[in-house]
Amino acid sequence: MKQADRANHKSPDATETVVEMQNVHKSFDGNDVLKDISLKLRRGENLVILGRSGQGKSVTIKCIVGMLTQDEGAVTVLGEDVAELNDKELKELRIKVGFLFQSGALYDSMTVRENLEFPLTRVLKMRDQDEIDQRVTEVLDSVGLADAIDKMPSELSGGMRKRVGLARTLIVHPEIMLYDEPTTGLDPITSREISDLILQMQKKYKTSSIIITHDMECAEIIADRMLVLNEGKFIAEGTYKELEKSDNEFVRSFFK
């Protein structure tokens, strides 16, 4: 599914900003990783952040979810200043923000079912087993892995682990999804399947997403808008088509 097919995906309030980073600066041991970056994610939008490895892409989304705190600037998610939240408020916010890790980060001592039940019982505090079973089945059906419900993560392939990771994140119905290199380490066919799946899930669960990637096919399939990060700064912004014709040599090098 390409960009032209997705014009009708966005919700009516597509102008509402759900994530905003303003002049964010972050350094580690004196090494500047993010240098004064700003971004806005609008409701229902898929924003792809493109960049080489080690340029601060993951740091950017970790600041959004409060795993890292910026040194300067402000990060606002759903109207809340992340740095100002206490532990309880941060946990409440995190329920609304799903984070899919590069590896899927499945709990390897639990079956797929237990992995999916975990956020329902621990985060949403659901107690009704029928309701829990219904949600687990529904989300596993959505990612096409209903048969894997009683398998251990070690029995799953890389693509299946990503699907289960996505299902576990979506099961609490987050408003915003953050994807950390969702197609890394997968073969081209599985990468395409995961990219299509992300798009389908966005449509079904009406999420707004930030996708970190350097997989151009994934970016082409998913992106409504793209930002290119280089040396801690966003150097270009636009749609896939616009950036493809960019004057900037570094930006164009991604499309070769």
């Binding site: 041991d29 979810v65 409440e92 890790f101 590069q102 499945l106 709990y107 390897d108 985060v123």
Partner: protein
Amino acid sequence: MAGEALPGYKRWLEDTGDQVDFFASFFRNLFRGGFEWSEFVRQCYEMGYKSLTLVGVTSFIMGVVLTLQSRPTLVKFGADSMLPLMVCVSIVREIGPVITAIICAGKLSSGIGAELGSMKVTEQIDAMDVSGANPMQYLVVTRILATTFMIPLLTMIGDVIALFGGFVAVNLADSTSWTLYFNKCVNSITFVDLLPAFVKTIFFGFAVGFVGCYKGYNSNSGTESVGKAANSAVVNASLWIFFLDVLAVQITQLLFY
């Protein structure tokens, strides 16, 4: 990176500060509510029941060896009838608790360190945290409490098995009835022998769980750090056991003698 550049004493101070913070965080989460009972019971089973064979075999051998080694000396002084008393007091007061705790440091502390370290490396702890769940409550509180409850229990069982080992060893060289041996053992120990020994095993259990969890939970990224976490968990837990033992002996002397 900066950690490597710091002088040794600063790293030590930093690590001590982190441990104090982790200790406080354990208690904050313990009393926060929403205790993970099912995970606690599972950990008790994994750590307690599954360590029973190891503790039992080691305790039996310990009882046999202690008795066989002590007997010649007591015979020299014509005090071989005191053998059950000596074996019983040694096992109950000191050898039982310390050996059981050391075995558990090797088995449980390293296991916890490696498990949590690997969860950290594969971002499972981060995933739990970022989902809005509480990894401290689910992973750390349950494991520390499980070792704190199970090690005293394992010590008690181990003591009984070690005394039985002593009885077997006595009968290898001599002939004593179980009733006589058992009566001599029971008459030789008092409340002052039992209580401090029991109380210190609670602290040993806490140390084993705490060190394992701290080392695993705070391991760095990279598979190498999993091994390091397991290794330093054993070393540190063992040191803590000996340190707490010295402290317990001093406090017992002050309070009861």
